[in-house]
């Protein structure tokens, strides 16, 4: 950080003076997680996860910047309480999740394989 500031000041690159601590911390965190995943689950998986993270971050950025969400939340911070309420509500849902409909239904709606011995029929008699 200090190095970047000094470098920016001596070379006269104004942009380097504006680098704030927060993005640096996040980048460091990302790099650390990348190497950890690389060690434990391989380079491919590490790249996949990093790409996913960047994709989600980009989508969030676009979502926050372009939908007028920022002024709304800054003016009415109590909206965040509403988000907590929605999360609690979602957490109390006990039915199947949407992904579970796909995961289960696709498999179970396929025609019943012919069991070679129909044990259940036999035992029901």
């Amino acid at each position: 950080m200090v190095g970047l500031t000094v470098l920016g000041a001596t070379l006269g690159i104004g942009a380097l003076l504006h680098v704030s601590i927060f993005p640096m911390v996040i980048m460091a965190n990302l790099i650390e997680n990348f190497t950890n995943t690389q060690l434990e689950r391989g380079t491919g998986e590490a790249f996949r996860l990093t790409l996913n993270t960047l994709l989600v971050a980009t989508c969030s950025y676009v979502g926050i910047e372009n939908t007028g969400l920022k002024p709304l939340v800054l003016t009415f911070p109590e909206l965040l309480l509403g988000i907590i309420a929605v999360e609690l509500l979602l957490g109390r849902w006990r039915g199947l999740r949407l992904v579970e409909y796909f995961r289960f239904y696709g498999v179970l709606s396929s025609p019943e394989p012919e069991p070679l011995i129909k044990t259940r029929k036999v035992s029901a008699e």
């Binding site: 060690l39 434990e40 957490g91 109390r92 849902w93 006990r94 039915g95 199947l96 999740r97 579970e100 409909y101 289960f104 239904y105 696709g106 498999v107 179970l108 709606s109 396929s110 019943e112 394989p113 012919e114 069991p115 070679l116 011995i117 044990t119 259940r120 035992s123 029901a124």
Partner: protein, 314 residues
């Protein structure tokens, strides 16, 4: 179509309901540490004379690993497992020694150093649930019963029995494939085979999202197989649930060629795919069990209750 989907949604157990209505209600928090640690699980089960796989050695500290090369002379075949591993990760099956190194179950030769560094990885918590430190245990290698062995490609087939309030309610057989690299876990490419709880005969086999009748690697028949010692397996599963005082638990068992049924591990958050392999939802069965007070019944009665319910609760 809509009616069909609604009927289906009423019978299938989803993750949310499993977590809120079953795990948080029936599984006390303090018991998780026993179930999540294979060493503690084995200690609890063996005091109750429930058969488990023998442990040769436990490594707790990095410095103990230096003795591994010497100690391993005493063991012919063995399995290295992380005590708090999940999903079969970090398990190595050593089938013999050769040229100063070891041979693994996939015929790969590895030097001693590689196993030592694997042990160090385990102790470092690479495969552990909590991602922190862990312990490594060395177990006897189990040879599957001749009735089960031909069903699996290399790995050990295991039988998952789901026990709810002491009553075995559903079971499936999990077998390894070439794709799953000797492990029987479904999400790694293993095959789940439903089992008729009443007689212990396999019904449907599911590989990924595909229904099959024969094993893709061995071409062996998967459905219609009779599992030996079936009622004994169910009784052991029910006793395991009592031993750890969990109301909703998955018990993983196998049948050793020489020593018979034994428990591999317990799971306090058993997965949902057992419903797929059996082609039926768990909820009607769980409701039927909840209408009774099965905890008061002796083990054999509970096994019979589970078998009766699977026949009638539709």
């Amino acid at each position: 179509m809509i009616m069909k989907i609604r009927a289906f949604a009423r019978s299938m157990l989803g993750l949310n309901r499993r977590n809120s209505d079953l795990i948080s209600r029936y599984n006390p928090r303090n018991q998780f540490q026993v179930v999540d640690n294979k060493i503690k699980t084995k200690a609890v089960l063996s005091t109750l004379q429930i058969p488990v796989v023998e442990t040769f050695m436990v490594y707790q500290l990095q410095r103990d690993i230096s003795q591994f090369a010497e100690q391993s002379h005493a063991w012919g075949e063995f399995v290295i497992k992380p005590a708090q591993g999940a999903g079969g990760e970090g398990v190595l099956i050593v089938t013999g020694k050769n040229k100063g190194g070891f041979v693994l179950s996939d015929d790969r030769w590895v030097p001693v150093q590689e196993l030592e560094s694997h042990l160090a990885d385990i102790l470092g918590g690479v495969f552990s649930l909590n991602q922190r430190y862990d312990e490594a245990l060395i177990e006897r290698r189990v040879h599957a019963h001749p009735a089960l062995a031909p069903l699996s490609f290399r790995g050990l087939p295991d039988i998952r029995v789901l026990v709810f309030r002491g009553v075995p309610v559903m079971a499936m057989l999990r077998v390894a494939t070439q794709a799953s690299r000797g492990r029987a876990n479904l999400h790694l490419g293993g095959i789940g085979v439903g089992i008729d709880l009443t007689v212990g005969v396999t019904t449907y086999a599911l590989a990924g999202r595909q229904w099959i009748t024969h094993h893709p690697d061995t071409q062996g028949l998967l459905s219609g197989r009779t599992i030996p010692d079936w009622n004994e397996l169910l009784m052991i599963a029910a006793r395991c649930a009592d031993a750890v005082a969990l109301g909703y638990v998955g018990v993983d068992l196998t049948i050793d060629a020489s020593k018979g049924p034994c428990v591999l591990e317990l799971n306090a958050r058993p997965g949902l795919s057992i419903q797929l392999a059996n082609r039926r939802g768990l909820r009607p069965l769980l409701t039927a069990v909840e209408q009774q007070t099965p905890e008061a019944l002796p083990v054999l009665e509970r096994v019979h209750l589970g078998q009766r319910l699977t026949r009638h609760a539709e």
